[in-house]
Amino acid sequence: MKIAVLSGKGGTGKTLISVNLAASAKESIYIDCDVEEPNGHLFFKPENIQSEEISIKVPTVDEKLCNGCRKCIDFCKFNALAYIINKPKVFNEVCHSCGGCVLFCPEKALSEKEIIIGEIQSGISENVAVLTGILNAGEKSGIPIIKKLLKDTHENKFTFIDCPPGSACIVMDSIKDADYCILVAEPTLFGVHNLNMVYELVKLFNKPHGAVLNKCMEGENPSEKFCLEKDIKIIGKIPFEQELGTLNSKALVLVRQNNKYRDMFSSLLQIVTKEVQI
């Protein structure tokens, strides 16, 4: 069972919720797809870490074979190639690894080499297998890492996917195979706007979904109103509490610290499980 946790913006509690749900299950997998700023591992502090490098393919030129026809330069839609002093030059950071230049070079002067863009770390934190995707600083696209992360999942275990913020394609890749999506929302007008974005996204993909309202305080909650209007099922509410904030800022897993939170997330997990089975 794959459950994706997403929110329109960072800082809404996406990681808090996915981490604690994963920790509440008897046995689970937690996948951090926020490859630009993975934070889940800070909470889980996994052990027995194994890492696997993730690479992409970029072209390289065999100058002896190149006849200077410039077909590769003209082909590349991303302007990742330039022709300088009688040879093509490749800009790895701009290349999208489409393979086109290699395919179409009439002299077979181009071939591909692998360059490393990041890694996947896997480790164990008590009942949770923790998978973290890390994109190296300066690399532009984490998609290859996310694709690989999601490949390694088992159908029969609880799998929680901590999605990147926003609604860009990188998020789409994260939720594509999910059985259920949890939308995390803050109780402000901004929160509503951001919730609406991810709501549109799950609707587009026809994913069963529910909302968790985070940082709930006394008084009006525009996100709650929005959920009622749009008929989004509210599957949980997490209060705004000093204690929770402190534990969280110390990077501790709430459900491992205190019974109150264990109960809170266990019942949230039960609701989610039920929702998925419908």
Binding site: N79, A80, A82, Y83, K89, F91, E93, A168
Partner: protein
């Protein structure tokens, strides 16, 4: 000597454009014959790698020097690989900069910004 400058208009009265990669035009100027040619920048609408494509235009015109207010990392790499000197403009007046260049008053551009990384495409 042939020099290239990104400009906002096709005229010698034009101002120097802020962005090398996304300038609408280039002036290619010959300091010996005073000949000037304005080129359209085909990279202006590119989604990514504009700097590289723009630099390619400059390289293909066999200029000896490029005068620009700033320059991205990738474009600078193309320019340098082609042995073209990179100078920093002093203000946005085309004439002032050409004069300053002729008098040897321009300094080399040292600050290269990290560029937009091809805008990710994703």
């Amino acid at each position: 000597m042939k020099i290239a400058i990104p400009v906002n208009d096709k005229s010698m009265e034009a101002s120097v454009c802020d962005s090398f990669g996304r300038t609408p035009y280039y002036l290619i100027y010959d300091t010996e014959s005073n000949e000037s040619v304005f080129l359209d920048n085909s990279a202006v609408a590119s989604q990514g790698g504009a700097g590289i494509k723009a630099a390619q235009t400059v390289v293909d015109n066999k200029v000896n020097a490029l005068l620009t207010p700033r320059c991205g990392e990738n474009a600078a790499e193309v320019i340098k690989a082609a042995n073209i000197q990179l100078y920093k403009t002093i203000n946005d007046s085309l004439k002032d900069n050409i004069d300053a260049f002729n008098e040897g008053k321009l300094s080399l551009l040292e600050e290269i910004h990290a560029g937009f990384h091809g805008h990710g495409g994703r």
